[in-house]
């Protein structure tokens, strides 16, 4: 009898604390009732075509100053490389791929782009014209920005 009372007391406490948690956690839907449509922010559009974007810090992968929608990068083809490869960059007027991308992780120089550098969008990303979500006071060092 004592045991049953104890278990019931524990369950009651657990139930009450669960209730407390669910009150304090808000779901991804926010405070919206299930009947109401949730509001979404409109999808941002990538910047169309621009001049190369200046880098902000040393070792920053250059940003992509154009749209890359539907550009395919897989083992069979790499759309980026049809302009940015050493074979094609002159005709395309594009920035050529860095020689550092032809090295294996053991610093062996390869005849083509290294597999670990092949998937461009792992590091290089296109931009949208969006306001920063939080205030940011970062300024590039003068060696990069050229400003005193």
């Amino acid at each position: 009898m004592k045991k049953i009372t104890l278990i019931m007391a524990l369950l009651l406490t657990a139930g009450m604390s669960m209730q407390a948690i669910s009150d304090s956690v808000s779901s991804l839907r926010g405070g919206n009732d299930i009947d109401n449509d949730s509001t979404t922010t409109p999808a941002k559009k990538y910047n169309k075509d621009g001049e190369p974007i200046a880098r902000d810090y040393v070792q920053q992968p250059p940003l992509i100053p154009h749209k890359i929608t539907n550009y395919r990068i897989n083992l069979k083809s790499n759309k980026c490389m049809s302009c940015h490869s050493w074979a094609d960059y002159r005709e395309a007027g594009a920035t050529k791929i860095s020689q550092t991308h032809f090295e294996s992780r053991d610093k062996h120089v390869l005849a083509n782009v290294s597999a670990r550098r092949y998937f461009c969008t792992q590091c290089h990303v296109p931009q949208v014209d969006a306001k920063p979500l939080v205030e940011n006071e970062f300024t590039p060092i003068t060696a990069i920005s050229g400003q005193q």
Binding site: K48, L75, A87
Partner: protein, 209 residues
Amino acid sequence: MSNKNSKECNDMILCRIWQVLKKPSVTYSLGTLLVVGFISGVLFWGGFNTAMEMTNNEDFCISCHEMEDNVYQEYKQTIHYSNRTGVRATCPDCHVPKEWNHKVVRKIQASNELLHKALGTIDTREKFEGKRLQLASNVWKAMKKTDSRECRNCHNFEYMDFGEQGRRAVKAHSEGLDAGKTCIDCHKGIAHELPDMHDVDPGSSIGDI
């Protein structure tokens, strides 16, 4: 002459039909022949074109699983299927010429595709992938030969407003126009996935790892 032939023809039915065909006005009046000939001509011609147009729509194209499971699924992800203006280019818009004579030639070539459908040449995804470079090359070669005729049903260098295009497009299009390039020279793989491009453009593919 005809008497001699009729005598020889007595027992042969084919020979008698030949006689009627050779000199029909013996049996029918010229008026009847003209009217019947005209009407059957209209019916035949209309029927022929209707039948040909029935093979010229997307439903027909994807009625075989080779098309529906491979190229059609890939095309559904592209701008020619879904875009901001709602204009859609379906299979025959790009793959069948609009002009009648070119269309008939293409339709006759398609009989080879029926043969390979029967042989099951690309009846699995793996077989299709294995043949993709060859199949894509065929289309690229045909497009190159016709100066991308089917693209130009909708897209025309002369109608392009370069002011509305992006920086890269203006450069590529104005230089392409001067160099006498055709659409397919640059715009490969826009409606379907590409084959392994290592042999076509070694710079744009990783090849063997």
